[in-house]
Amino acid sequence: MKVRSAISLASVALALAALTLAAAPPASAANAIDPAADARAFQKFFTTKFPKLKLEDFVNGPYSLNEDMHRQWVEKEEFPPYEFSLDMGKEMFAQPFKNGKSYADCFANGGIGIRQNYPYFDDKEGKVVTLELALNRCRQANGEAPFSYVKDEMAALTGYMAFTSRGKPFDIKIPNDPRALEAFETGKQYFYTRRGQLNFSCASCHVQNPGERIRAEILAPALGILNAMPIYRSEWGGMGTISRRFITCNVQTRGVPLDPQSDEYRDLEYYLSYVSNGLPISGPGARP
């Protein structure tokens, strides 16, 4: 009897929830894509939710939201776990390819201090190009095999490139090109779309619940979340790239992830980076 009444109560709650959803006002008619307004609203949402934090604090994710974790992190940063990877990245970056060229030849300013400009919209290709993608294209153009997008070598390289760009604010540009605006919009849609058997969107955790616990972990805010990439995650026991972060998020909601650097993930990275414009690069980072 008790169980049944609990079930009926739950159905009432569900029905109510459905009603509230149905009654919610329809999306505003202003459907023009306005990235600048989106970014303003996005940053304002987080600064209002966490009034004590400075804008640049958001790049440190959960460490800015919990005092205990912050103390641990300060100590950890004295001797960060990504140090081995960073050294490896520095070495790899300097190592020329078999044809004598090197990574520095593929990038503006020799690849130093440019992380904040990625991803960018490539008007020839008509698509978003991320740093990870650019690195593998650089390898292939020079007759080298591409790296796995998720860890080790790729994380070491992006980690080193982020390190040389630390403190520089994200400076993602969206050209006045309908394809670029569409990429931004697709990324935004991916971010807010519920997926997987658990019916979670990226926003369910990283917009609606940053600072709350999910099991033993504290959820990071979406604002500034990419500034710290790549990250050493103690949970992974190693380094992970942005691709890895997206894939694990999808899998954790019990969705089948897309291939790394598929169009949707590139657009998502474009969207998330753009709305964090102005926040400094802090990668490589360390997360529990």
Binding site: R4, S5, S8, A41, Y192, R194, Q197, A203, E264
Partner: protein, 119 residues
């Protein structure tokens, strides 16, 4: 106990509905069980599996497959390989239901995502 009674009382129509649904499901299960006495055949499994797989492909086109669908499909195949077609058919049906749910999610979210957006 008093509390429970009162709650049930105030939601009587819904409680009745729940009861009716439960009964209906039980009856369905009984019918299914009796028809399953003539054990499911290879062809039945193949048909059920194909339907489930097609639904999952459709979810793939929406870029919204679920990991549970894939693992249930794999379990169905494993059961069929072991010659247990009853289980294989049941698992295929479950996979189909999961795939259909993911299609529903993928389709409704085409509009519903906007409800979560920060403006």
């Amino acid at each position: 106990m008093k509390m429970t009674m009162r709650l049930t009382g105030s939601n009587r129509p819904i409680a009745r509905l729940v009861l009716a649904t439960t009964l209906l499901t039980t009856m369905l299960q009984i019918t299914r069980a009796s028809s399953a006495q003539a054990a499911a055949s290879v062809d039945e499994f193949k048909a059920a599996y194909a339907v489930a797989e097609a639904a999952n492909t459709q979810a793939g086109a929406l870029r919204n497959q679920w990991t549970a669908t894939a693992s249930t499909l794999a379990d169905a195949k494993k059961a069929a390989d072991a010659g247990n077609f009853d289980a294989a058919v049941a698992l295929s049906k479950e996979a189909e239901a999961l795939a259909k749910a993911s299609i529903f999610q993928g389709t409704s979210e085409k509009q519903a995502w906007k409800a979560q957006e920060i403006r």
